[in-house]
């Protein structure tokens, strides 16, 4: 029964700054907002698309998607109302698209609307989205927690440049979700209460919800599992033994889920030598140190991945040799990298003519295998760096470690030499993933023309500067192929090409580890969408 279970409290160690998902791309923000605003369809815990505000997921089969793959028509479930009681109509949906696609709005989810040429209201409950060309995967707009529907009435005057002025709306969006915002304190705490107009009269079970942000993962885990102050803690990136210790507190349980997130080492295919100067550095190929495939292969062979999982992630990590480890049908079946092979790596380097010098470091033709190895500052990554440095030293490769403040490393400031895009190093380590379940654009990151360079203001996602015309060709084919099996086949091939080249050395398939209190029922961890996607179904367990 609605509101019968009192208060539920959630802690995110990153605090939400805004509840308008279009003005912030941050996970913390979109997930918090997912309690209030909802999309037409979203992914469930298995990565399947399910209808949410729509009555069904449009497909070619059910006629929702046109045969030529250029349009998709959404049918809204009838009888929906906003939390203020007004009716939810197709106009709101169209408005949402206009809002995000406004050229001055700086919408964070603009890429969801890529290729959209028109959104039109067919009738009160029907919206048609038209794309510029065939779009085999048309589920960008209005799908997933990053692309929810906002109310036209509320945001009408907040278009484009005016968007930031609507503080009230950005902090307290009217939504269709199970909760409404009572008070929003940016970067601190959100107080919510049950949406009295929620479509299911029995839900949510909780009358109020507290969403606390800030602190660190350790504290969040402790608050749920050891002191029991909170019911749900998000993303506990902690050493396995710390998690285990917390679990002994007996108040909560960690839960893990796996999306396509992979911790990897990127190998720089361009030469990062500072002597080259700003226009050439990390732009011209090849990188003399990493150009030899044997070197890249050996680097990967020297790594003991099971140990990395055990030390760094425990139950939140899995072994993988792929760039795309999930969903299952896209995952290639590489297993060659799973066991460490120092001897093999040494032999391979010996054979390739890299001879060890007096200091134990290999060199060939005056090129020493001494790498700069950078990553963002983070305890697990630093442990990984240390371990990998040690393994590499065993095969005669020296690594000079650097760690950079995350906000600098991941910030796109073209003026900073320390961004991961500039890649002023031989190798760097970070994790990346993609939204939803379709890897097309993710794999598109490795196209030749996506390499960052001064010409592109260092924008571009081909971080390792991988370039293979055959790959580009194959990817093009993917963009034109419909049908999940055929697409998966191509995607696996693309994945293998990258892995084979050694430009990306996958380390760990990382999961999301969260924890919930033992008294909180109904939690289903979802890594494909908002983690707290089904908060409406949560309830308080009795007697616990």
């Amino acid at each position: 029964e609605r509101g019968s279970d009192g208060n539920v409290s959630i802690i995110y160690w990153q605090a939400p700054s805004i509840l308008n998902p279009f003005l912030s791309g941050g996970t913390k923000d979109t997930e918090a907002a997912s309690l209030v605003v909802e999309p037409l369809a979203r992914y469930d815990q298995n990565g399947n698309l399910v209808a949410w505000l729509a009555s069904e997921v449009p497909t070619v089969d059910n006629g929702g998607v046109s045969e030529d793959l250029t349009s998709i028509t959404w049918k809204i479930a009838p009888g929906l109302t906003w939390s203020d009681g007004s009716a939810f109509t197709a106009n709101d949906v169209k408005f949402t698209a206009d809002y995000c696609m406004h050229p001055e709005g700086g919408c964070a989810q603009l890429s969801k609307y890529e290729g959209v040429t028109d959104v039109s209201v067919v009738d009160d409950l029907t919206v048609k989205v038209t794309f510029g060309g065939p779009t085999p995967f048309p589920y960008g707009p209005f799908v997933g927690n990053e692309s929810p529907i906002i109310q036209q009435a509320q945001f009408e005057n907040c278009m484009g440049a005016k968007a930031p002025e609507c503080t009230e709306a950005n902090f307290n969006p009217v939504g269709t979700g199970p909760f409404v915002v009572d008070e929003f304190r940016p970067n601190d705490v959100i107080s919510m209460s049950a949406n009295q107009n929620y479509r299911d009269p029995a839900k949510p079970a909780f009358a109020t919800l507290t969403f606390k942000g800030g602190g660190d993962a350790t504290a969040a885990g402790r608050a749920v599992m050891e002191t029991g102050e909170f019911d749900y803690a998000w993303n506990l990136q902690l050493a396995p033994e710390v998690i285990a210790q917390m679990q002994e507190g007996g108040k909560g349980t960690p839960i893990a889920g796996f999306g396509p997130l992979v911790e990897r080492i990127m190998v720089n295919n361009t030469n990062p030598d500072p002597a080259l100067g700003p226009d050439e550095r990390a732009v011209v190929r090849p990188n003399p140190k990493t150009a030899d495939p044997a070197v890249r292969k050996a680097m990967s062979m020297a790594i003991d991945r099971p140990l990395l999982v055990e030390i760094g992630y425990g139950q939140a990590g899995k072994l993988t040799c792929n760039l795309v480890p999930a969903p299952a049908i896209y995952a290639s079946d590489n297993t060659s990298c799973l066991t460490q092979d120092i001897a093999g790596a040494n032999k391979m380097l010996d054979d390739a003519g890299w001879a060890k010098g007096a200091d134990g470091i290999r060199a060939k033709d005056g090129v020493r295998l001494s790498f700069t190895y950078q990553t963002s500052t983070n305890a697990v990554r630093q442990d990984f760096q240390a371990l990998i440095k040690q393994w590499w030293s065993e095969i005669g490769i020296d690594a000079e470690l650097r760690n950079l403040n995350a906000s600098v490393f991941f910030g796109g400031d073209p003026g900073s030499p320390d961004t991961f895009q500039k890649f002023y190093a031989d190798v760097e380590m970070y994790a990346n993933t993609f939204n939803g379940t379709d890897p097309q654009s993710y794999l598109g990151n490795y196209l030749c023309d996506k390499a960052p360079s001064p010409a592109s203001q260092w924008q571009g996602e081909n971080i390792s500067r991988f370039c293979d015309p055959a790959y580009d060709e194959l990817h093009k084919k993917l963009t034109q192929t419909a049908g999940i099996d055929a697409r998966a086949e191509i995607a696996r091939q693309l994945n293998d090409m990258i892995i084979e080249s050694g430009s990306v050395i996958p380390l760990v398939h990382r999961g999301r580890l969260s924890a919930h209190s033992n008294t909180l029922g109904g939690v289903i961890l979802n890594v494909w969408d908002s983690e707290i996607w089904n908060a409406a179904d949560w309830y308080r367990k009795d007697g616990a």
Binding site: V242, T377, Q385, A386, Q390, E400, L401, R402
Partner: protein, 303 residues
């Protein structure tokens, strides 16, 4: 020849530093502090000759060990020897502490003396002090990293480069209190008659400052110095914590302490060692400073 022509000294040549030492010896706290501090310094610098495990050597099989014979201080989550890491960390922490303190002291005394001594400079220099007090440390550091890291790395190598950067950034953000105190003292000293007397015998401004003003503001400077080492060691740990410090495979006490706080419940000894080392250093330096201040003051020394 010159030896012969020298007159026989009338009193045994007692050097000033011998006097200072004599007084210093009688200060019990100072002696304990000095011995402790020397032991810490010797421990971290000479220790590695006796305990020659590489602090970055990972021995994954023996990770998370408590105190054992092979690893007296235990090992960390990657199986690195804590004793070796403590010694390596100590080298960095102690040298960062001392150099940053010296730099801050130098800047603080320099600006304080100039502001106190030259009336014209007083206003601008004190506003400069306000400016530095108001500057946020973090963005400042980021800017410094951006502007100078590459160049320093090229000139001094990675570790030296970062060392210089950290020392400089701690130094230039912590000289302000010293400057204020010194300025206040100099203002008062300037009115003392011996300064006028020195001027009347033809002492130039530079000599006046070095011979007469500086030795008389030594005692507040000493106090700042002792506090300065402590602040520098702790600031360095905060910097490591924010990812602006030394590379992660480069242990410092602050970093060891920070890394260990997550394991506080599982392995309390891992927190204990670096915490203990920082506290002991700070304490010993404080007592040392107390004694030194007394010893440098001839008035107290006479008693």
């Amino acid at each position: 020849m010159t030896e012969l022509s020298n007159p026989v000294p009338t009193a045994p040549p007692r050097s000033q530093w011998l006097d200072v030492w004599d007084q210093f010896k009688t200060h019990k706290g100072a002696m304990i502090g000095a011995i402790l501090f020397i032991m810490i310094v010797l421990g971290v610098y000479l220790g590695p000759f006796f305990w020659d495990i590489d602090p970055t050597r990972i021995d994954i099989r023996s990770r998370n060990q408590g105190m054992t014979f092979a690893h007296p201080f235990g090992t960390d989550q990657l199986g690195r020897d804590m004793l070796a890491r403590m010694m390596a960390g100590g080298q960095t922490s102690v040298s960062v502490g001392i150099t940053a303190m010296l730099l801050a002291l130098f800047l603080g005394s320099f600006i304080g003396v100039l502001a106190g001594f030259f009336k014209k400079l007083d206003g601008p220099l004190m506003r400069l002090t306000d400016l530095f007090l108001a500057l946020p440390l973090l963005p400042l550091l980021l800017v410094m990293m951006l502007l100078f890291r590459e160049r320093l790395n090229a000139m001094f190598g990675l570790e030296q480069g970062i060392f210089i950067l950290i020392v400089v950034s701690i130094g230039i953000t912590s000289w302000m209190p010293t400057a204020r105190i010194v300025r206040g003292d100099v203002l008062a000293l300037k009115e003392r008659e011996f300064v006028l007397a020195a001027r009347s015998i033809g002492t130039t401004n530079t000599k006046l400052i070095t011979r007469h003003i500086l030795p008389n503001v030594l005692s507040p400077i000493m106090v700042s110095a002792t506090l300065g080492i402590a602040t520098a060691i702790i600031t360095e740990s905060a910097l490591s914590f924010l990812g602006l410090g030394f590379p992660p495979d480069f242990p410092t006490w602050g970093r060891l302490l920070f890394d260990a706080t997550d394991y506080l419940q599982q392995h309390p000894e891992r927190v204990f060692w670096p915490g203990m080392a920082i506290s002991l250093t700070v304490l010993s330096v404080n007592y040392l400073g107390d004694g030194l201040r007394d010893a440098l003051d001839p008035r107290i020394r006479g008693r």
